[in-house]
Amino acid sequence: MRHALSLFAVLYGLWLVLSGHYTPFLLAIGVVCTAFAVAVAMRMDVVDHEGHPIHLGFRIVLYWGWLTIQILVSALTVTRIVLSPRPRIDPVLETVPSSQTSDLGKVIFANSITLTPGTLTTSVTTDGIEVHALTRRGMDQLKEGDMDRRVTAVEGGS
Amino acid sequence: MMFLAAVAALVVTVLLALVRAYLGPTVYDRVLSVNAIGTMTVLLIAAVGFLMERPDFLDIALVYALINFIGTIAVLRYIKRRRARDAEEAS
């Protein structure tokens, strides 16, 4: 129920921002449409801690800040590789261990890896994540496990 | 002025992606190029909206971002299905 209410609030906020007209008629139509969308989502059984993860709270915002810096650093690294006259690339495809317990945590970790330029998730299994890295160094940095620990901290004891 | 620079960079990148889509060699290279062109188009619509001082273009960019993603996934599913069917027929 908590998830449904939160989803309703988010969707109605989206309606308000995207419409830009605030007449009583349009506001009422917004309530009807949002309620319908939430009802359909509940019928599809996607309104739970996975489809609408509100339990992550503020920790995910802090994590996004850290991830932004990581993305910038590795974007610069990949830029240097692309622009160098003889690209020094050494692609590797290996499995990186992951310590998350929930599916949601694994998905956050896998998507973070893909979002960072230079590393790319190719498949997610129960004991690890198969990653294609542009350079051996990028793979080694990933295997140090800094990102893995941070995602596990975000995931918390759900 | 700066919007023009952004638009120019986007158009050049779209052209480079078109070259890659033409060269291939695999179907996945082509899908990747088309996906990249879609992302560039989203940014292009947003930048052109600012250039022509029509911020309502942003709504179109928003919808295009969604359609581009769904389009890529749909094409990949189609290729996967066709490959599976071809393998079945060959055996």
Partner: protein, 105 residues
Amino acid sequence: MIVDILSWIAIGIGAAFILVGGLGLIRMPDFFTRLHATSVADTAGAGFILLGLMLQAGLSLTSFKLVLIFVFLVFTAPTAAHALAHAALLDGIRPWTRKPKDPAP
């Protein structure tokens, strides 16, 4: 005035990252490395260009729509990239490696 200059710098950096993505798409040797190159344009390039436009728009509905576009791009880009890489691997495309005698698993 300062905001104007900042937004120009952001748009300039974004345009540079976008161009790098396009160049990488042409220069890199195989499909997976090209995927890495475009992810530069998808994340850093798009982020900086939208940041620059946001600074131009100021605090308004327009800015919020730009944030929404960025959120959509950031949530969908890794999913599309993962789907592409997974499909390519399943189809038997092997990543290019430096040493041909040591093939990837």
